[in-house]
Amino acid sequence: MKPTKHVLSALVLNQPGVLAQIAGMLAARAFNIESLAVGETETPEFSRITFVVVGDERLDQVRKQLEKLITVVKVLDFSQDEFVERDLMLIKVRCSGPQRTEIRELTEIFRGKIVDVGHHHVMVEIAGPERKIEAFIDLMRPFGIIELVRTGRIALLRSERTGLEDDEPATPQSAAAEA
């Protein structure tokens, strides 16, 4: 199995140290976290951590070990499922008078918003899936990007299921049992 990008979503207790535990477990196995977003859920006692990791079949082993942590309720790997993902970016671009219109048009096409304007720069807020964000960054390069910041990906499954539900059979079914 070739290393591919996985979007993992962990429902965890909203307590000190939980993020360190998860990051530590990935670090100890030499997985690099490409992006990470943490926030409280609809229930204040839980947080959801969404992280993107490049991994091979060893990643499922890590997922199971993460689920073993007492403070972790559930870890889902979305890669096999239909899910919606979003990334939020603030990007500051160099621009003087004439270029402003062009940037505004591009921002509108991308359904972004100009949130700050100065004599020599504008700041754009833009949300969407990763490809869209990256396309926008590409388009801004010729103007001169001063700096940008991204939240990291957040994602939810398209179905009615939630991370809290026990959607797996209690025991994994036999992989190759012919019996």
Binding site: G17, A28, I70, V73, S174, A175, A179
Partner: protein, 599 residues
């Protein structure tokens, strides 16, 4: 006026009597959990805990080890020999870090342990205060769970949860890091010691075997011609030995055990193949290699068992039963994976299997008997010297009917004990198997002895391992714990020497334990037993007030051993052994059964 004052004083006294501080709540919590033994070494940040232990000495025996690591392994000795949660305690900083090895060890061998460490007051946490170490950080990956207590109102719940987590599911160590200000903070009256737990991410009871899976396993057994059981610590931890025995005697499927699984099936049972893996028997490894069905129950396909993974049991279908979901498919893909308590699975198998399901294994038994005849577990005969293998066999002969607890250090003596002592019951054999911690034997024996004051407890040790926790001889003497140490002294780090001999042309690189100006330091010894071994263990033992003797001739050994075993108190028998012996058979690391070294 005078009366008023008296009343006021009486009132104060009454409140003071009811008020309870955090340290007292923790100790009361231990009493509620049924703890009878605590190994604790005091220091500045844990003194309130010790004061609280002192108050409850009617219920809890607190034993002072001579090193916190000794305390940690003694708590493991309690846990491994009884199956109950062991408890150790240390102060902050160095006291706490000295527990770390025992915690990592407990994690790898799934030993239920609760370790309480003092911590500096919360107001100075993170300021590099005197004796401050961030234990939560340090222990994150080597404990099953860890708590930092920040509120005195949480103490009773945390203690209850810690014991629950330590003993349920796949057992393991839990750390409670307890800042001194919280130890001293008070509640006006004792809390509920059986409060509701808050563990939404922990459901050890959710996994059960499905009848469908039992049917699958039985179908696999019915169609097999060469089935083998590969069983480990899960059988011991899951109290499943009795069910295993029933299953084995019913189906007549031969059983190989891991190091952690010794005692799961009586070592002298005709269907026992003994240990498999690196230093396992030839017949156990051959059987697993030839098996068409491997029933892996309560095991984790450790590298010391499998050698080269792709080659391990590659002809057979694999049934893997374990309570820990993350062990399934971890090292080896299972054809029938079952996440469940192994005892529950064996009970269901015993209930559902019928006579028609049991295959005719006579051809398979014939083959195994042939392997047993051809490649028995054996060693060189020496009429003069005391070979370690012989010493262990003699220990077995003299103690097998006395239901002893045997502990070991790590190295050659450990493997030979695993090979030559035929354990009859679970929890008789205590060994640091996953982490392989030298110095485990003496303190573990101390814990087992404290848990079973009337039982024979023997620490079979090597001279390297023994010196790693030798200070606990003081604890044995002062706490009147009659542990016997059979010290197999070859003046070398024998297992490393063996690897030097096998894989590094015999070059001695810091594996001789005597003075550097003796020829053995460079590997130029004549192989004989030294006139003046180093150090003088008999004198050391005597310095601690413990009787000791030295023996160097085979003819003298049985009597010397009997004298130790029959002595009333602790005892050290220093046995001088040759150092050129190798633990065999051996499958070199990462190799296969075809590479097995027999001579």
């Amino acid at each position: 006026m005078a009366t008023d004052t008296t009343e006021a004083r009486a009132g104060t006294r009454q409140t003071a009597a009811q008020a309870i501080n955090g340290a007292e709540i923790l100790v009361e919590g231990l009493v509620h959990q049924g703890v009878e033994l605590v190994f604790a070494y005091p220091g500045g940040a844990s003194m309130p805990l010790h004061q609280a232990l002192l108050k409850r000495r009617d219920r809890i025996r607190t034993i002072l080890p001579r090193h916190e690591q000794g305390g940690g392994f003694a708590a493991q000795g309690v846990a491994r020999s009884t199956g109950r949660v062991g408890v150790c305690m240390a102060t902050s900083g160095p006291g706490a870090t000295n527990l770390v090895t025992a915690l990592a060890d407990a994690k790898l061998d799934s030993v239920p342990l609760v370790a309480v460490t003092g911590q500096v007051p919360q107001s100075v946490i993170g300021s590099d205060a005197f004796q401050e170490t961030p234990m939560i950080e340090v222990c994150r990956s080597i404990t099953k769970h860890q708590y930092l207590v920040t509120d005195v109102r949480d103490v009773a719940r945390i203690v209850k949860e810690a014991f629950y987590i330590a003993r349920t599911g796949r057992p393991g160590p839990v750390l409670i890091d307890f800042p001194k200000d919280v130890q001293l903070a008070t509640l006006p009256e004792p809390p509920d010691f059986d409060p509701p737990m808050y563990l939404p991410g922990y459901h050890p009871e959710k996994y059960h075997v499905a009848p469908q899976q039992i049917k699958q396993i039985i179908a696999a057994i019915r169609r097999s011609k060469r089935p083998v059981l590969y069983v480990g610590g899960g059988i011991i931890n899951g109290n499943a030995a009795e069910e295993l025995r029933k299953f084995v005697e019913r189906t007549r499927i031969p059983v190989a055990t891991t190091v952690m699984g010794l005692g799961a099936i009586p070592g002298d049972h005709p269907l026992c193949l003994h240990m498999l893996g690196m230093h396992g028997t030839v017949y156990a490894n051959y059987a697993v290699n030839e098996a068409d069905l491997l029933l892996a129950f309560g095991v984790r396909f450790d590298d010391r068992v499998t050698g080269k993974l792709e080659e391990f049991a590659k002809h057979g279908k694999i049934v893997h039963v374990d309570i820990d979901a993350s062990e399934i498919h971890k090292n080896k893909e299972a054809h029938i994976p079952v996440v469940a308590n192994v005892r529950e699975v064996l009970e269901a198998l015993n209930a559902m299997i019928s006579d028609e399901d049991i295959p005719d294994l006579s051809e398979w038994h014939r083959q195994i008997a042939e392997w047993k005849r051809q490649y028995p577990l054996t060693y060189r005969q020496d009429d003069e010297h005391i070979l370690m293998q012989y010493a262990i066999e003699e220990l077995w002969r003299q103690t097998v009917d006395r239901d002893p607890v045997i502990t070991v250090g790590v190295g050659q003596h450990q493997m030979w004990t695993a090979q030559f002592y035929k354990f009859r019951k679970p929890r008789q054999w205590l060994s640091s198997s996953g982490l392989g911690t030298m110095g485990f034997g003496l303190p573990a024996a101390m814990g087992a002895q404290a848990a079973f004051p009337g039982r024979l407890v023997v620490n079979v040790d090597g001279d390297g391992s023994f010196q790693m926790n030798i200070q606990e001889l003081a604890t044995l003497y002062c706490e009147k714990l009659p542990v016997k140490t059979l010290l197999l002294n070859n003046q070398h780090l024998g297992m490393v020497v063996q690897w030097e001999d096998r894989f590094m042309e015999g070059r001695r690189a810091h594996t001789y334990l005597g003075p550097i100006d003796r020829p053995e330091a460079l590997g130029e010894g004549d192989g004989g037993i030294p006139d003046q071994p180093y150090p003088d263990f008999v004198k050391i033992a005597e310095g601690y007030g413990i009787p000791a003797a030295q023996v160097r001739r085979k003819a003298d050994f049985p009597d010397a051993l009997a004298e130790m075993l029959n002595s009333p108190g602790p005892y050290v028998l220093d046995v001088l052994c040759p150092y050129q012996e190798h633990v065999l058979p051996m499958i070199p690391s990462g190799k296969t059964v075809r590479d097995i070294i027999i001579e």
